[in-house]
Assembly symmetry: C2
Homo-oligomer: 459 residues x 2
């Protein structure tokens, strides 16, 4: 497949060297941090302004050419791959923090700004943007996939932290959704509709984000439990007591082992919780003490409080490094990362069943989780040359998703659908998946925006 000559000519006239048909650029945008593979796009465009995005979309729409938005390429379900050819819209040059309104605790940013870049810019303001999926993803991509991560238990997901958007529609119209007010009941929540729509309804060209005050005091700790059940029961009891946690992460015995081997820690090789509190010195001390009491009731031991910023940074670097630490458990292996989310009361059973399924399949698969949300991941370590191991890992991922559905959970807590989870959408949503398709058809009748992802195929 190649672009129609006239399309190429018009895009070139618009973008000059910021349109590339070179194999190196196209191949770069066919890569993915997972086993999802697709042919490269026909071209890559690097727009620098919303108007340019609109013009590109108009040119492509006129020729029936697909447009696939690209942030940093860190998604795990093949969201940004060009399965049906077309033009990949690399938004990395739209990377300006447009405005920080400190008094309103808001920032307006372009979609290519990464979360770390925004937080660097915010450092002097006393504010920060809390959503933290681990990867230094673009904020546009994080909004498009409704990302979350370790801090969602306190600060929410992208759903909760995007106040408004500027979006280029499939026909090139540019709209604004939301306002700068903290809340609104003025009609359909289009902001919420575009957040998580994975580029299938429009291209996000600007975001208005909710910021939060940098906590005056932070306390982090890691502690060991005899069993997952006790760890999860401890988290439930803490949440019900109203003690606010900024982060509450579960790592299983195998992950603790991986940390010991890779990060120089000396944790007992049992399940652990990693926790963080944000607040004033008094409230953080109180929250930490309450958690400590509850945790000891559930048999926690080996409390290690990180009291300096350096210790805390080391603790969370270790957590965010779980992927690489675990991969080192099987040298040469690649990872297949699963992602389900279940009601809290079903979490111990869901994790135990996942561990059982992994063992039965003869694979190694450490498990970590954002346990305050009921969200967990298995990192299935496979030989990248072994088709059968990859197939087994994909079967396991599907089985975990099916088990999540059986207990009222979801097939993805934070990684999104892309192509990877699309075969499970009907199972989760039933007829509501067709409603998503109807909305897609209404907003993108030509099916040019990231086709083949998320929604059902057209009849």
């Amino acid at each position: 497949m190649a672009l129609p000559e006239e399309t190429t000519a018009r895009l070139s006239a618009l973008l000059g060297p910021r349109l590339s048909l070179a194999a190196v650029d196209r191949d770069h945008h066919a890569a993915s941090e997972s086993f999802h593979r697709a042919p490269p796009p026909d071209a890559v465009a690097w727009p620098e302004a919303p108007d340019e995005v609109a013009q590109i979309v108009r040119i492509c729409a006129g020729a029936g050419v697909a447009v696939i938005p690209w942030g940093t390429g860190t998604s795990l379900e093949g969201h940004a791959l060009a399965y049906r050819g077309g033009v990949t819209l690399d938004l990395s040059r739209m990377d300006r923090v447009l405005e920080v309104r400190a008094a309103d605790m808001q920032a307006s940013v372009q979609p290519g700004v990464t979360r770390e870049a925004l937080n660097t810019e915010l450092r002097a303001t006393g504010l920060f943007f809390p959503v933290d999926p681990g990867a230094n993803a673009s904020l546009g991509g994080m909004a498009a996939t409704r990302a979350s991560g370790t801090t969602a238990v306190r600060y929410g997901t992208m759903r909760d932290n995007v106040l408004g958007l500027q979006v280029v529609l499939a026909d090139g119209r540019i709209i604004r959704t939301g306002t700068r007010a903290a809340k609104s009941s003025a009609g359909y929540d289009l902001t919420g509709l575009f957040v998580g729509s994975e580029g299938t309804l429009g291209i996000i060209t600007e975001l208005t984000l909710r910021l939060h005050g940098q906590p005056e005091e932070v306390a982090s700790a890691v502690c060991a439990f005899d069993s997952l059940d006790h760890a999860v029961e401890c988290v439930s009891a803490t949440i019900q007591s109203g003690t606010p946690m900024a982060r509450i992460e579960f790592v299983d015995a195998l992950t603790a082992r991986a940390f010991n081997l890779h990060s120089g820690s000396s944790l007992p090789e049992t399940p652990h919780l990693m926790i963080e509190f944000h607040g004033s010195p008094v409230t953080v001390r109180e929250d930490a003490a309450r958690f400590g009491e509850l945790a000891r009731e559930f048999g926690a031991r080996g409390f290690d409080w990180a009291t300096t910023p350096e210790d805390r940074a080391r603790l969370w670097r270790m957590r965010h490094g779980a992927y690489h630490a675990c991969k080192a458990l099987r040298p040469g292996a690649s990872g297949v990362v699963t992602d389900v989310c279940v009601p809290m009361s079903h979490l111990p059973q869901a994790v135990a069943e996942a561990a059982g399924d992994i063992a039965a399949a003869g694979l190694i698969g450490p498990i970590v989780g954002h346990v305050g949300d009921g969200n967990f991941h298995a990192l299935l370590l496979v030989d990248p040359e072994s088709e059968s191991e990859i197939a087994a890992a994909k079967r396991l991922a599907t089985r975990m998703a099916e088990r999540a559905l059986e207990v009222g959970g979801t097939i993805t807590g934070e990684h999104g659908i892309g192509v990877g989870k699309r075969p499970l959408m009907a199972a989760e949503h039933g007829e509501a998946w067709q409603v998503m398709g109807a909305i897609k058809t209404a907003l993108d009748p030509g099916n040019i925006l990231n086709p083949g992802k998320l929604v059902p195929d057209r009849n």
Copy 2:
């Protein structure tokens, strides 16, 4: 206008005495707590189950008859009035709390359950549902209008507290949106789309709600400020300090006066803040102390802490009674309640301008606000017999909405669009309003669900 005979016959066969064509029933469903007026519906139906709702919708859709959902009739923008005739679907008989899942901090309820009924049912569980718009509204109606109220600053609006829905679509299909997991990135956020859609996209027949732990300790207070500016600056400083407030309400000098006359209080007749903290005894004491320090920096005085549950109940009864207290400032008057929401930094100016506009119009209009959200209401007191006063009040409401838009705010923070704010939708949303219309057309091509509300008229 009357129902086609065959439609009446089919509905009667389905519902028996739960379909009424009697004037008394129809008139009751033509009443509204505002100046919006419409002819009564052609009939009123009281379904008792989702399947019945689906059958009614199918019967009506087949005949092109409008269906208007009705909760408790407490909306302020004419949401539930039958401007184009049709059948009003009174959901008050679908009032069962279906399940409380305490371990997951969730409840499944039918749409006719009121917020007070749910909280009564939850009393023994240690949990509560926090969203509190003042009126004892139905939870279905609260979801449909994206209601919020005094506790949104801490617990969020209905958008944040509805995890999932069962919805009857315009063609009678029954879908489920969302899951029982705390978060999900599995496709378009249909839950968020139906919350706030005011019955124009589907009829809510079940809600899965997020519950919260009843706070162990509660502290409430009222304090006086010399000026609105100082009160708002105090709130901003408190939010930025990360001190969590469960409620933070502004009342102006005139409202303080109304409280003194009506509720037996003896407040200085200046602007006030009413505040509440939730947490453990230690954290509440700390939060209250911090707020006290900040407030004194901004000149607060006359701190009155409500230390007993009875004192707190009295304090919030006074706040929730503001509407009636203020109406007593002008005996015989009726109220036109405005509702805008602006970025925090613009709140002092917005309230001051509103007060100036009200004075210039020669009306009495006390102002109260959910100041932590930038949301405020003026209660414009008009002679219900005076067309010119009512017209002046409506002009004022429009002017406030326009001023809110000028500073990046919204025309409604929590009351919704209905018919009252519909003329302002294009001004707030521009082309995005047409996108709402496209979604409406996709999901309700026959325009039978609550027609004439929220979205643009069809071409």
